[in-house]
């Protein structure tokens, strides 16, 4: 068990290095000179040379990469060209917002998906099943940015239930937990709705398969109440694949968060990245890409480990 976990962690290291190399190459083969952009109308060749020197842009590419990698290992992702703040500081401020958005949305999406998928599979081909299937298609195909706009239109502008953007009320000198939660409802609901459909489709087919298993028949045969059969035997086994699915859906969740953050002006990683794209703020672009890639790999790793902890069959197989 322990050796499996150690091996999975060791496997993740080349992937992390690979991500850093790929993003670094990607960011340096593109046209557009950050020195020119930074200086703008103050551009002179002398100033450009001096700035390039101070930013380390005049060194050979592999040296730039090695310096950057060395700095990363010391917790230094460089300075933003734009904000003159360390990239780690910017990410440190944006990350909690994005993570709370993504995690809350995922938890709700998974819970609802379990409920909906189970109901659908249990009452297969009933009217409820068909109606939910249609709704699933609808939300599965719904662009997150359009749903976000509709949310603002109805729940913010027409009904005045929730604020249309931001994380805190600027007029409130002492914004507390409830204010934060109040601002999180609409973005989180949007992300929940667009991810829910995919999860519940998987849940439906996974419950359907479990219901046909011999041990379910045995459980019924020995006279367990239907609720016990569902809770103890069907649901527990059907949830397992959802853990892997959760690990795999990290990139999609961050992509969804990018649009939602832009619409709700929610200061997370997506908004940070989007602002950096316009100004070719290399260190920020590199830092955020690297960070999200690393988070995805760690997310997959955690999902795998969690799976092996929950399902004894997996760890036995991989140990032998």
């Amino acid at each position: 068990m322990l050796s499996y976990i150690v091996r999975r962690i060791l496997q993740a290291i080349p992937s992390l290095i690979g991500i850093s190399i790929i993003t670094f190459i990607l960011l340096h083969i593109v046209p557009g000179n950050p020195v020119r952009i930074l200086l703008g109308q103050h551009y002179t060749p002398q100033r450009a040379a001096a700035l390039a020197q101070s930013l380390g842009l005049n060194k050979p590419l592999y040296m730039q990469y090695l310096i950057w990698l060395w700095n990363i290992l010391h917790g230094n992702l460089g300075y933003s060209y734009n904000y003159t703040e360390p990239v780690t500081y910017l990410i440190g401020h944006a990350l909690p917002n994005t993570l709370s958005l993504v995690l809350i949305a995922t938890i709700f999406a998974q819970l609802f998906a379990m409920l909906i998928g189970t109901v659908q599979a249990y009452f297969e081909n009933s009217i409820a099943d068909h109606i939910i299937t249609v709704l699933n298609y609808f939300f599965y195909s719904m662009p997150s940015f359009w749903l976000g706009i509709l949310m603002v239109m109805f729940f913010s502008i027409q009904l005045h239930w929730f604020p249309s953007g931001g994380v805190v009320n600027p007029q409130d000198p002492n914004p507390g937990f409830w204010d934060w939660l109040h601002h999180l409802v609409l973005p989180a609901a949007t992300l929940t709705l667009v991810t829910l459909a995919g999860y519940s489709r998987y849940m439906r087919s996974s419950v359907r398969e479990t219901l046909l298993m011999d041990y379910v028949r045995t459980a019924r045969a020995k006279g367990l109440r239907e609720s016990q059969v569902l809770w103890r035997h069907v649901l527990r086994n059907s949830i397992l694949p959802q853990i892997t699915l959760f690990g795999l859906s990290f990139p999609a969740l961050f992509a969804g968060a990018l649009f939602i953050e832009e619409i709700f002006n929610y200061p997370g990683m997506g908004l940070l990245y989007w602002n950096a794209v316009g100004t070719l703020d290399y260190p920020v672009l590199l830092g955020v890409t690297m960070f999200l890639g690393a988070l995805t790999i760690i997310g997959n790793l955690l999902a795998d480990i969690l799976y092996s902890l929950v399902d004894p069959r997996i760890s036995l197989e991989s140990m032998s």
């Binding site: 080349p14 992937s15 690979g18 991500i19 790929i22 993003t23 990607l26 960011l27 593109v30 046209p31 557009g32 298609y137 609808f138 599965y140 195909s141 719904m142 662009p143 940015f145 359009w146 706009i149 509709l150 603002v152 239109m153 502008i157 027409q158 990290f250 990139p251 999609a252 961050f254 992509a255 990018l258 649009f259 832009e262 619409i263 990245y273 989007w274 794209v277 316009g278 070719l280 672009l285 955020v288 890409t289 999200l292 890639g293 995805t296 790999i297 997959n300």
Partner: protein, 295 residues
Amino acid sequence: MVTETQVANSAGEPRVQATKWRTWKRFWRYPLSSIGVIGMVLLFAFCFVGPMIYHVSPTQGDFTALLQPPSAKHPLGTDDAGHDVLARMMVGGQASLEVGFLSAFVAMAFGTLYGMVSALAGGWVDIILMRIVDILLSIPSIFILLFLNATFKPNVGLMIFVLAATSWLGVSRIVRGEVLKIKNETYVEAALLAGVRTWRLMTKYLVPNFIGTVLVTTTFAVADSILSIAGLSFLGLGLPPPAPNWGADLSAAMNYIFQNAWWLIYPPGILILCSQLFVNFIGDGLRHALETRTD
């Protein structure tokens, strides 16, 4: 001595034909397939035939009607510059559909080739090629797309390439798995012994085995590409103005959200949603038709 033709003939052509016919029938019997196909045809007609019938310029504003709700003169209303929304919706879908379909096909062709090469090469080449795919898959593609779009300012051709560059990953993995499954089958070995060239082995002996799976994946990739273009335009990138685009128009509509300009917000959203729905219907129809065959 077995020649290549003999090997190919032993596969049994009539049976393949019959299976194709059955798959085709199964596809059409699935109710969602026909809704998807008819919807997609209508959407294409709206975007490409529509402008031939509805002669209103999408880029020349009517200054007597700024930000007007739907009326007899402008069936879907006008935006802040007096542009006719209906005309913009028709023309705005053209590039999305073209780029969406073409980039998905380019991506599938490349992904299929990559996956086959990886599986056939085996060993270290396979490990390294698949590691690259794993690494690229862990970075959310919209972040790479945003970056490439901001730096390259793409036209339609480049846009197809950029979108394809981020969407071939999934299919390469699937194809590799499929090839590994059939690589050691007797008929593949026989073909190799008969001296079949690698290219011919790929196109005649390997591809027909998993073309269905690739087709299903391609269909869903079309939906992803259309959504990506709309999303990039929504974020202010994608294809440059003045050519209208659903995503860009939706983004512009956000400025009038407080005036409740619903006629600017619904049409582009509904059209993007419809394109996604119809393509997903077709994809599910294909999956239904092709997968049940293997049961």
